[in-house]
Symmetry: C2
Subunit: 453 residues, 2 copies
């Protein structure tokens, strides 16, 4: 697709997100807060399904990984040791003409002269280092001694608790510690909807291993993570594992892959899989004076393990899922006239609502009662949604637009009023094919459970 | 129990939490950060089970509630309108003798004279208002115009998104918006382990209703919430619904219950169920200039709904679950000698690990293979844990101490080596009764699923 159709597609996605309650601007009634977003009724379900699936695959599904949930506020010493206080900065430039504040790499260059991309001005300040961590004060005084930061990544909580987790979990190398949680970066220019935001959520695994095994685990995790994205419905063709070249990697990393996705606004990173060596644990051991070594019972050696980190952005992945799912096709309306149908083709595993249940008519009490009975019967197994308003075709369209994979309609056949053989059967309609099948109510739960897990 | 045995009990609980990986001090290797805690491998599972059960009951289990996940950083105008910027304060006093910083209500009074509880000093400053919100700066400049706060409660995100959620969800009154998320308060004196911390998580429902129905929904939600705590294993006798007296309620509240629990350190609040009237929506309507009214299609009236708020503390509830579960009894060791057994009697629904699987001996390959096969077979249905080290009695004790309700042992009977009729059966052991039953492997999953849900 070309640039303008991609931009148009993105506009439609953003509009759908707001209109149907996936994502709202934070504090919208007060003009918002740049780089902060709220997940509405459907967005919160999509995000929960993604995070729960990640946890299921990365923690519960494995013998070699345990979880952690660290606090967002940590002792400032963590950020001194990790290097974030000194070096987690972007170079920033001010335009003296239009007062715009710019990341130095966003300046435009014409005939060798740097210009402001806003006004074309050439009167620019020298670049200054701008720290991306949000600062706050803990305790009753606001002074140097009470400073700390909102964590800019979740990883450090794992490194500083490495020894505690090792002791309580009795794990042997290789093993991992997984965490899902919020992180914060005071981005100079948040952009691309929720893609680059100031408040975001990460799903990170720190996988500790022997020194000599780092490179092989790096490749293993790159492949595992690509499979993960395929398993939540992202086509392999839209995913790219970029080998980050030497000069662009963090200085402590011996190898990094960026897993990228083809967003409508360009190919962008979903996840970094980085071989961080023993850098982080070594830094914290030096700064804290506490041993973060591993004792190998076989070789009787003590050493600081190396680590491979698959670090995924929750919000970016949610956005990729929505972009991937968004599609338009042609379908007949109630009167048989063809119209454009918007469909979110979510994998049933991550779709916010798994099944919608409709009585054919809302003013026929037996239909309504039967539909509500089916809701109650499905509810322990999945998130279901009851809707009785509007023509049945419109109700299907509303579910298509939010990606509900299955809809069940209770009609007069269900009540046995036409053909006694069809009593207690319902119409099960598939979102993608729009095909309908007749299914006994008693089999509904097992049919649906097998299709959504 | 008396004070000293309660204090001793609390010490044992705190020690178990650290030793077995429920809760660690945040940034522990750097001396911690007062009022911040990390959840270890078992704590994170317990917390997830609690939050997921709350979501299942409060959102998925109902037609009248939808979810939301708002950002922690919001526009400062939210906190001006809600009153937090001006009035969310504690009066604070400094002791000039020992430099202690104290909440005014923590001073001791002897013969009518206020004294420092630390040093007994009487040279105290006048009380000053200390705002409990953590301040930070958003954007590239640190000045008055870029100030905002970490949210001190999750509720306001729901109020400011009320209109958006109403529109996208097409709900009619009464209906609710639910949210789970972190909030932050710069407590002068964090205390009682994780009970009063600076970073904490809330599970809140704002339930909107007609003006005249507020008091009845208040009572409804008090009862529902009491049931919830019973359903996660807290004995009704240890729960108390306190009617907050007029003079102690927030000025805008027409009625509030505190749901309290008998912690070893005293009776303390788990959840507040507050009838907040139309105060919050009215404040935001006034401050934002945006209508937050509800249009009643039947009466053709427009009005600001009233709201009842059941607001629970995640960390407090996790702590209550651990305190409630902690028990000691006498059980025979491997040699039949009676010893003290520590057991966390968690309700299976919220227990971190649902089932442990053991091969009787780790050096018998067929036992190990069969045990691993059972792990793989149970894993899609629940969080299972494989352990092969130590005598079987010790393995049971380790699971008792972390509250695993069921353990499965694969022995020579399982392999059919003794009695062919017992081939493919295992020992299923119950944590509380310590009774063992012989169960066919093929029935294991359905037996366990029915006992843990």
């Amino acid at each position: 697709m070309n640039k303008s159709s991609d931009a148009h597609r993105m506009e439609k996605i953003v509009s759908l997100c707001k209109r149907r309650g996936f994502i709202f601007q934070s504090s919208e009634i007060y003009g918002g807060l740049n780089g902060c977003w709220d997940y509405g009724p459907l967005g919160v379900e999509l995000k929960r399904n993604l995070k729960n699936y990640w946890w299921r695959i990365m923690v519960h599904g494995r013998d070699d990984v345990v979880g952690l949930d660290g606090s967002i506020l940590m002792n400032r010493a963590v950020w001194k040791a990790s290097g974030h206080e000194d070096t987690f900065t972007d170079p920033m430039v001010d335009c003296r003409s239009c007062k715009a504040r710019l990341r130095a790499d966003q300046l435009v260059e014409k005939k060798g002269i740097k210009q402001c991309p806003n006004c074309g001005g050439k009167d620019l300040t020298a670049p200054r280092a701008f720290n991306l961590m949000f600062k706050t004060y803990v305790g009753a005084t606001e002074d140097e001694s009470s400073i700390t930061y909102l964590r800019p990544e979740t990883a450090q909580a794992i490194f500083v608790q490495f020894k505690n987790v090792l002791e309580v979990s009795r794990k042997k190398l290789p093993f991992g510690i997984a965490q899902i949680g919020k992180a914060f970066r005071n981005e100079i220019n948040p952009r691309n909807f929720t893609f680059r935001s100031r408040e975001f959520e990460q799903m990170e695994l720190e996988y500790f291993c022997r020194t000599e095994e780092g490179m092989q685990w790096l490749d293993y995790w790159k492949e595992e993570r690509l499979k993960f994205y395929e398993n939540i419905g992202i086509a392999r063709d839209n995913l790219h594992a970029l080998t980050v070249p030497d000069e662009e990697r963090a200085f402590y990393s011996k190898g990094t892959y960026d897993i990228e996705y083809d967003f409508p606004f360009g190919r962008q990173e979903l996840e970094g899989v980085a071989y961080r060596t023993d850098y982080d644990l070594s830094q914290h051991q030096k700064a804290s004076g506490k041993s973060l070594e591993y004792f190998d019972e076989e070789t009787k050696q003590r050493f600081i393990p190396h680590v491979v980190e698959p670090s995924a952005g929750v919000d970016r992945t949610v956005l990729a899922l929505i972009c991937e799912a968004y599609s338009e096709d042609e379908a007949p309306d109630e009167k048989g006239k063809m119209e454009t149908r918007i469909v979110l083709r979510f994998h049933p595993r991550i779709a916010p609502i798994k099944c919608a249940v409709f009585p054919l008519l809302k003013n026929k009490e037996p239909l309504v009662a039967k539909a509500k009975e089916i809701v109650a019967f499905l509810r322990p197994h999945m998130y279901v949604f009851y809707d009785e308003t509007g023509a049945i075709g419109r109700r299907y369209r509303r579910q298509d637009e939010i990606g509900t994979p299955f809809s069940v309609t209770v009609d007069f056949e269900t009540l046995g009023e036409k053909d006694p053989a069809l009593r207690d059967t319902v119409t099960l309609r598939d979102r993608d094919s729009m095909k309908q099948e007749r299914v006994p109510v008693k089999d509904l739960s097992s049919i649906l459970v097998s299709r959504i897990s």
